[in-house]
């Protein structure tokens, strides 16, 4: 991992078009501004990892199996009534 010392108002540039600015430094936190192109999603790590975990838990690998699909659908229909 690259490690930098930055002061308030200074920034880091990543690749072409991603800038990370140090806006404010507090006792327990640093306020950071991120400027990135629209095709680069930016997320808080804990939220991103939570969504990754939720997607992995929800993915089924056997949906090509029509019977398995029908069983899942039937469960859902019964509960949505």
């Amino acid at each position: 991992m690259l490690v930098f010392t930055r002061r308030r108002g200074e920034a880091i540039v990543i690749g072409d078009g991603i800038e990370i600015h140090v806006l404010r430094i507090g006792r327990d936190g640093v306020r950071i501004g991120v400027a990135a192109p629209d095709n680069v999603p930016v997320h808080r790590q804990e939220i991103y990892e939570q969504i990754c975990a939720a997607n992995r838990a929800a993915a089924t690998s056997d949906a090509a199996d029509a019977e398995r699909r029908a069983a899942l659908e039937a469960q859902l229909i019964a509960r949505l009534k």
Partner: protein, 137 residues
């Protein structure tokens, strides 16, 4: 017939997810097709690890649901404020039979460009695991 099932290609719409799905970064091309029963859609990856997601219109679960897309999301979808978008929430069927829906990060598809993404607003009123049904006892 095709490799993912028994229905013709014409009933299966291909959607591109340029950023992949979180946790499935290698899955960028999906087919979306209506479930045989009910108002659900299947989202099935055509590349990377085999992955299918059962999804439901989040407004079917919470009719008063309100989402605001960030400007960057609209750019990613190549949509405008007026584009009618398809919203899908991923359904999770847990081992004990609990059924939950991910309302925190819905999938949004622009039917005009067939581009999709899973949106994760900075702040959301809705949980990742919105339980719609506890297991029957």
């Amino acid at each position: 017939m095709n490799e993912t099932g028994e229905r013709p290609d014409s009933e299966r719409a291909m959607v591109t997810f340029p950023q992949g799905l979180p946790g499935f970064a290698d899955c960028r091309t999906f087919v979306v097709f209506a479930a045989e029963t009910g108002e659900f859609q299947w989202l099935t990856s055509l590349e990377g690890p085999a992955a299918s997601f059962l999804t439901v219109d989040p407004r079917r679960v919470v009719p008063a649901l309100r989402y605001a897309l960030a400007p960057a999301d609209l750019v990613r979808l190549r949509a405008t404020e007026d584009t009618p978008l398809l919203w899908l929430a991923i359904v999770l069927v847990e081992a004990d039979g609990t059924i939950a829906v991910n309302l925190r990060a819905p999938i949004v598809i622009n039917p005009e460009t067939m581009i999709g993404c899973q949106v994760m607003p900075q702040r959301s009123l809705y949980p990742v695991r919105h339980v719609i049904s506890a297991p029957a006892v």
